[in-house]
Symmetry: C2
């Protein structure tokens, strides 16, 4: 029996293996400098941090360690958002309550120290972020550990920090709302059949069809994110070929990374709930 | 920094990602009932056993545990031979001497208990083996743990058992001879450049071009194994297209699994020696 840490690692691997996942690195597609093998090394490297998440280390430390290990490959950021989802979910699973309520409880226990560790994690890899709103410069995640005094002064926990970003970041929104899309997509995966990598591809398309990807919004713009969602709907409805869409999105640099993060988290929940590989 | 256990797991993942590796499951090809995702789960599942190999547990127990974890997926045997190579190499690396001499020393320390654990490992998965020679029925690996009395009576260590198979099994031969092909292919990987998955594909082709695959000999016959080696030479020399060869071999069920096992072991040695992903 795989434990939650092994299932989390396997979820990262199955996510990147799922194909087609239009715009993302998958079993059939690389980006120019970010290749499939970087995701394999990222998944392996994240395990010591995930193991902290399964124990009783502070959640922020577990995340910081996971990201540092993930970053020990030459491709750059591979799974930052996925790990941000997986760390509290692994904690909830280890505590015996992998449910929206259980995950919410884990997030609610986070502290200012966890927030500081979260900021430090940004020093390990280059994560795509927008400029902070006016007046929030002191809390720009790109400041890394230098934001600590501002975090302490305002008494912001990791849950607070992510709640502040819930409007613009799909991963933060999962934290803030009890992981609704993660658990919904896990149910899709469990109800589906066939190879897991194919189910991952279908779950990805459904998630993207449901909601514009906030990573695309940040890296490109809201219009492209809306277009990606409409095109995913066409692919789901059979009006477009998902393989062709995958080729086009990779060529255009339209990379729905947040949707991939939620797919990885959903794979984890489905594995924990008995999905057999 | 990845430790030897992480590098061993990553080696298993990079091996299966390498494409084309004619006849084997790779990033682009599945067999009908043995898919890429089974190899991902096999690699993740083998880690607790690999961790025993990095510690001071008996080597046979480490292997038995690695195989049991590897087998916790529905595809069947994915990495039995690769783990048989990796377990002593991980032990040697953890002891600070990952060299042919260091690996030989590890193998030489094995005991009759290790041999019994090795036999028990065959109970966890269906491994392709030939009938034993006449008079050796009591030592048929397919007897699993039932072979224990015969092993004890004859005082056979794991190294002895593998030495007996060195003539017909390429993995056993590596054990018996200080892993010559593993270390040679590791040197090729380190001297090569470009994506690791491409290097793995080239190393696989060179290994196959050098020597007929004993897994193909067992599953099919010696003539097919010789043909596979000749075809690999043609592919290496540019007289044949490796991708076309991969399609043909998968369709014909020509599966050079021993060559893949040695490729995985070579990837491990190369990672330990600083090959960057």
């Amino acid at each position: 029996m795989r434990d939650p840490v092994q299932n989390a690692e396997l979820a990262l691997l199955l996510e990147v293996a799922g194909t087609p996942k239009p715009g993302n690195v998958d079993r059939r597609r690389d980006h120019p400098d970010l290749r499939f093998e970087h995701f394999l090394a990222g998944a392996v490297g994240s395990v010591p941090g995930l193991r902290l998440a399964a124990g009783d280390a502070p959640l922020g430390d577990a995340f910081e360690r996971a990201v540092a290990g993930m970053g020990e490959q030459s491709g750059g950021n591979t799974q930052f958002g996925a790990l941000l989802l997986l760390v509290p979910l692994v904690r909830a699973a280890s505590g015996g309550d992998l449910s929206p309520a259980g995950a919410r409880r884990v997030c609610a226990t986070t502290t200012v120290d966890d927030a500081c560790a979260f900021y430090r994690a940004f020093e390990a890899v280059d994560v795509a972020v927008d400029d902070p709103p006016e007046g929030m410069e002191a809390l720009d995640v790109r400041r890394g550990g230098d934001a600590e005094p501002a975090l302490r002064e305002r008494g912001l926990t990791l849950a607070d920090v992510l709640a502040d970003s819930a409007g613009v970041d799909g991963v933060a929104r999962e934290w803030d709302e009890g992981f609704p899309r993660t658990f919904e997509a896990a149910a899709w995966l469990l109800a589906d059949d066939g190879p897991i990598a194919d189910r991952a591809s279908r779950a990805f398309l459904r998630l993207l069809a449901d909601e514009p990807d906030t990573f695309v919004e940040k890296r490109l713009d809201a219009e492209t994110a809306r277009e990606a969602t409409e095109r995913a709907r066409d692919a789901l409805d059979g009006r477009a070929d998902p393989e062709a869409l995958a080729e086009e999105f990779v060529a255009r640099g339209v990379n729905p990374g947040t949707t991939a993060d939620v797919t990885a988290a959903a794979l984890f929940v489905a594995l924990e709930r008995g999905m057999e590989v």
